[in-house]
């Protein structure tokens, strides 16, 4: 095992929320020293989302689940850009640029210009700097000033036009969105690759460059199939639920128990015969209605009924194993708790246990891969707000004690957020009314003994 690929590379991270932090988290996992900059009046809003035990007392902003995952292994520096503090903070950013290889930002276009932090100005400080801007719709074009929230960008990238049930009032179901903010992690990964490409170019030529990434555009290639169909045949996409354009049958089938499901794809005639054998219905294989993929597609509804007749008696895990053993592509639809307990992901070591301030919690890896030549750092917690102020300002920029104290007194730096609404109100707001969410039907359950189920020891005081 050797060092990490980005050892010695420093990233000045001015991004917030999701896409940008995903990009820089990947760089951190690959060895970069990532300095995350937040304002006391504008801390990363994900510090407000998901408190362990729903407890928003004390320094709750240092314990939030969504923040912790996306910012593991980074250093935190607070710098405030509000009102008269903007100039001081911009000067400090410029001094940090001189010590950095990469600058990442996710403001709306032209915010960086306002503070004299546009790419051209940065090259005067550090000629080979690599700068990436991640924004909703990119740095130019008629939509560049649009406010781009993650939940709007998946539909804007075209994905929702393909996502939906096949039956509905318009002959197909409404367009739907994935149960996550799809384009955020997706475009964050694209950003990490763009930065690495620029680093390889800099290694060869000594030149830095500027990268303009639009989160809308980054995800458009996922619908490449449908774009080609439109370009070739002027065909509008149809939402077809869980069925396939290529294979039949394919679907999501109810299993024994409540809300348990199994997905199956029959990829060819051999797999079809294997499914008939494995489910104990060899007679289906000789049914002419199901002889080849075209006829199976034609009789898909009838097939779905037959398959459901079998799956609804089956345990979802057992059915996955028996079909896979027979050579049929199948998988259990896991809920978030089952994902955390899944034997395959456990054996692969996909979840680390990370300290949260309220005991350790399982957190997935950010990079879904293993390298043979080095091991990525694991189980690193996210920094507390302003945790590395002194380390960065004194250690890296050589500021004196007095200078740092002065910045603290002027509230340019600090370790407590200056929230727009009073802190007691924020404490109430960031506690989620879980019971109400459960009543709405947005939760499948709230389990009090979840720590025991996950094998996490509760804190000794309890």
């Amino acid at each position: 095992m050797s060092g990490l690929p980005l050892d010695g590379i420093r990233v000045l991270d001015l991004t917030q929320v999701y896409a940008g932090p995903t990009c820089t988290r990947m760089l951190a996992d690959l060895g970069a020293d990532v300095i995350k900059v937040e304002g006391l009046t504008r801390m990363d809003i994900t510090r407000n989302f998901v408190m362990p035990e729903n407890d928003s007392s004390d320094d709750y902003w240092n314990k939030a689940g969504y923040f912790l995952f996306r910012n593991g292994g980074k250093r935190s520096l607070t710098l405030d850009f509000s009102e008269e503090k903007g100039d001081v903070s911009a000067e400090i950013v410029k001094r940090l640029v001189a010590e950095s290889d990469i600058v990442a930002e996710s403001f709306r276009p032209h915010v960086m210009d306002k503070f004299g932090l546009d790419y051209e100005s940065l090259t005067k400080i550090k000629p080979d700097i690599i700068m990436i801007s991640l924004s909703g719709y990119g740095q130019n074009g008629p939509w560049r000033d649009f406010s781009g929230y993650g939940m709007g960008l998946e539909p804007a990238a075209g994905l929702s036009s393909l996502t939906g049930y096949k039956d509905g009032p318009d002959g197909q179901g409404a367009p739907l969105r994935t149960g996550i903010s799809f384009t955020d992690p997706y475009s964050g990964i694209v950003g990490a690759g763009a930065v690495l490409s620029a680093l390889l170019y800099r290694r060869r030529t000594g030149k830095g460059q500027y990268i303009d990434l639009s989160e809308q555009e980054a995800a458009v290639p996922v619908v490449g199939y449908a774009l080609m169909d439109y370009a070739m045949n002027e065909r509008q996409p149809r939402r077809i639920g869980n069925r396939s354009h290529w294979y039949a049958p394919q679907g999501c089938y109810r299993c024994a128990g409540e809300d348990n499901w199994l997905v199956i794809t029959v990829t060819d005639d051999d797999a079809w015969r294997a499914l008939c054998e494995a489910t104990g219905h060899p007679q289906w294989a000789s049914d002419k209605r199901f002889a080849d993929v075209e006829s199976r597609r034609e009789h898909h509804d009838a097939l779905d009924e037959l398959i459901t007749g079998w799956t609804r008696e089956q345990d979802q895990y057992a059915a996955m194993h028996s079909l896979q053993k027979a050579g049929v592509t199948a998988a259990a639809v896991l809920n978030p708790k089952q994902v955390l307990l899944d034997p395959h992901l456990r054996e692969r070591g996909f979840f680390d246990r990370v300290e949260t301030g309220q005991g350790p919690r399982p957190v997935p890896h950010q990079i879904g891969a293993k390298f043979s030549a080095f091991e990525m750092p694991s189980a690193r917690r996210a920094p507390k707000l302003g945790e590395h102020n002194r380390e960065v300002l004194q250690g890296l920029l050589g500021m004196s004690d007095d200078e740092v104290k002065d910045l603290e007194e002027r509230k340019v730096i600090g370790d407590t957020p200056a929230t727009a609404v009073p802190l007691p109100v924020m404490r109430m707001f960031v506690q989620w009314p879980l019971h109400s969410y459960g009543q709405m039907g947005a939760l499948g359950g709230i389990e009090k003994d979840y720590r025991a189920q996950l094998g996490i020891e509760p804190p000794a005081s309890e």
């Binding site: 939940m151 620029a198 080609m228 395959h344």
Partner: protein, 389 residues
């Protein structure tokens, strides 16, 4: 061979052997090609299976005209090799020996059976970055399971939280796990090249599409690990306390209505041309609106059904309220915004004609991405066999 300059592309001078099939590996290799690497796609004699999947012009199957294949394999060369023959494996070995990167997507164990596993070639090619991209990774109980985006959606937990509460879990359109896996593979290959730049050494990378997608499911596993709450699918409302952030029908299609940080109560009331709504409790109180969402929709829906998406989108965005469009392939390709940004490239695909290259993924000021048509099956075989002698 395509001329490639060392200075005007990010990855000029690199050679990649793309032995993968399907979506994930080929997409990874296409990104490397668009960035300037020379990519030689090695296909079985019958071709990558996506050549048989379409869409095809006029729905007439033709391995040289598959839209999916063209999308994923632009800018590459094609060499056919029969891995079941000694000659074929010898040609592949020579190609690998000449390369910086190998991308493969065989069932775990199969490359070693062919004598082409990482351990078999790393002695001869110590600088090789050898990247395996598979649905579930090289190890673990599901390693040899067959998989696709649907199985990865299911096992990652993403499918359970996608769809309507009273219906079955739903896959996201467009084979998402394959693209997530392809992106992770691309990032990992670039990282390994950077590592090689420091150490001179290649390595093996084991990419799991399931884990690539699973990493994106963090907020659902987090809700259980932090709170014991099991999130369930609930329309398009993935993030509960931001309601509305939902797709609604409007007069000429659909619109994503998002209030954002500043939309309620005033700006949404103005947008709906009913200023009195500013005083409405469901506009004033986020929690009440979230929980009594059906009541809120009774106010919202009738107005939307009388207005067009572009009008709603433009007026909302003028007030910094982050509404979004529900784009289709047609509206994406006709978008003024994407046209001004030159997102779509254009390729001239032999036998098919002009097609969009999807797309100009990001803009690099010094090393713009390039596009090219996909290769005919085996178009570069003769040169490869000649070169391997």
């Amino acid at each position: 061979m395509r001329p490639c300059s060392l200075t005007d592309s990010a990855l000029g001078g690199l050679r990649v052997i793309d032995l993968s099939q399907g979506i994930a590996g080929p997409y990874c290799a296409r990104l490397l090609a668009d960035l300037g690497a020379e990519v030689i796609k090695v296909e079985p004699p019958e071709g990558d299976f996506t050549r048989r999947l379409g869409p095809f012009p006029g729905d007439v199957p033709d391995p040289e005209k598959s839209g999916l294949f063209i999308h994923l394999n632009g800018n590459k060369q094609s060499v056919t090799v029969d891995l079941d023959s000694d000659e074929g494996r010898a040609v592949l070995r020579k190609l690998i020996a000449s390369a910086d990167v190998l991308i493969e997507s065989e069932t775990p164990g199969r490359m070693a059976e062919l004598g082409l596993g990482f351990g078999d070639v790393s002695g001869e090619c110590p600088k090789l970055v050898y990247c395996s991209v598979t649905p579930f990774g090289q190890t673990g109980p599901y390693a040899k399971f067959t998989g696709n985006s649907l199985t990865c959606m299911a096992l990652s937990g993403l499918m359970y939280v996608t769809g309507d509460p009273d219906k079955e879990p739903l896959i996201t359109g467009g084979e998402p796990a394959d693209y997530f896996g392809g992106l992770h593979a691309w990032v990992c290959v670039l990282a390994a090249l950077e590592h090689r730049g420091e150490t001179g050494a290649g390595q093996h990378i084991d990419v799991s599409c399931l884990e690539a997608l699973g990493a994106a499911d963090e907020y659902n596993t987090t809700m259980y690990a932090w709170l014991g709450a099991i999130r369930r699918r609930f329309y398009s409302r993935h993030h509960i306390p931001t309601y509305p952030s939902e797709i609604f029908p409007c007069r000429d299609g659909h619109i994503v209505v998002i209030g954002g940080a500043t939309g309620f109560p005033l700006m949404m009331a103005i947008l709906l041309e009913q200023p009195e709504l500013e005083e409405h409790p469901l506009f004033q109180n986020l929690w009440m609106r979230t929980i009594k969402w059906e009541e809120f929709e009774k106010i919202l829906r009738p107005y939307l059904l009388e207005h067009d998406w572009l009008d709603l989108l433009t007026r909302a965005q003028e007030m910094s309220v982050p509404f979004a469009a529900v784009m289709s392939p047609q509206t994406l390709m006709e978008s003024d915004h994407l046209a001004e940004r030159r997102f779509f490239g254009e390729i001239d695909q032999p036998g098919v004609g002009k097609l969009p290259a999807v797309g100009n993924l990001f803009r690099m000021s010094e090393t713009p991405l390039s596009f090219g048509p996909a290769p005919a099956l085996g178009a570069d075989s003769a040169a490869a066999v000649e070169g391997s002698k």
